[in-house]
Symmetry: C3
Subunit: 147 residues, 3 copies
Amino acid sequence: VKMALSLDDPVFRDFAFYATASVAKMIDMSFLTVYRRLTRGVFANPEDFPKGAPKKPVYDDALVERARRNHLNDIENILPFLLVGSIYVLTKPDPKTALWHFRVFFFSRVLHTISYQTGVQPARGLCYLAGMGVTFSMMYQVFKATY
Amino acid sequence: VKMALSLDDPVFRDFAFYATASVAKMIDMSFLTVYRRLTRGVFANPEDFPKGAPKKPVYDDALVERARRNHLNDIENILPFLLVGSIYVLTKPDPKTALWHFRVFFFSRVLHTISYQTGVQPARGLCYLAGMGVTFSMMYQVFKATY
Amino acid sequence: VKMALSLDDPVFRDFAFYATASVAKMIDMSFLTVYRRLTRGVFANPEDFPKGAPKKPVYDDALVERARRNHLNDIENILPFLLVGSIYVLTKPDPKTALWHFRVFFFSRVLHTISYQTGVQPARGLCYLAGMGVTFSMMYQVFKATY
């Protein structure tokens, strides 16, 4: 074994840090959704309503659905980054180049969330494309190394 | 290479077992959704209806949507566990502590599904928090090892 | 360390190739959704509409929702494949058997998308089952090796 996923490898250590930070960023959407539901009294299941409240599920609250779409968008983008990224680390990339891939991705997703929740376009679209660009760049390196 | 993901490492073997069990748990939601659709005659695509039936997609069947929300909740929670967990294994955690992390997570998600499908609160919320707590504990270890 | 995830291992190299190809296949659903939204003028957020257009979110456009359901189905199936597959590689499977697992999975998902977007049943259902079968076969190997 010449090269493997290990925290002794500085590139993997950087990846591990930003990968976990990206997962933390993704999970924060769970909390935002719960917060929106609690403060707006909007739930999808009858049993979630507080005692005494009418148990009528609501599926179209604008702010709750915005948080849920944001969460799904994170899943659609962050999970591919994590999976492709962990293989990319094994292609022995230049450590500085790799670190910038991870940084740009992570911060693009933080800014994506901020612009999504504040409703700012085209900032949200550009952040989305920046993150996607990082994933594509890593994909290209993986295909080059495995084809 | 001092440490890497390998089935020769007992911690990784435990993780591999519970990670795969958690994925199996997640996939069972696909089958529950298909079962609900078939038994209730509720489909999202016109081409999914049996011959002769009126081909009118339905998007708001309570039991089908409950299974789908449960599935999405699994995705939102189990995938972060798997990704953070595989890095956590590399931080050389105490094997017993690690095993308990994996066990608590897996069983919290099994109980979460049971309480979700039977509509029992606050059991569902507590199971959700237990699983999230395991992921946060592993995240903390990863950040400590990679920062 | 006797065995670990490494591009020096031919089985892992094959997995890395098809795993990344499967992620690329999954990401293409993002582009299909964006394409559908732009060509049909259907958006979920008020700020996504072009200037001058009435900013009324639409959540039930048949073609947009079809793309989104397809995307979610990819997430529900491709991510488990990737996670179970990376552990399966470590169980030292026969390289030819492993390669056929990866190939069948990848092409089943490509054909699944084609039959989903063209609305062809039972082709879509059969492709779904083929992919699921591959994941189950790998799961079985992982359980045998880690139990």
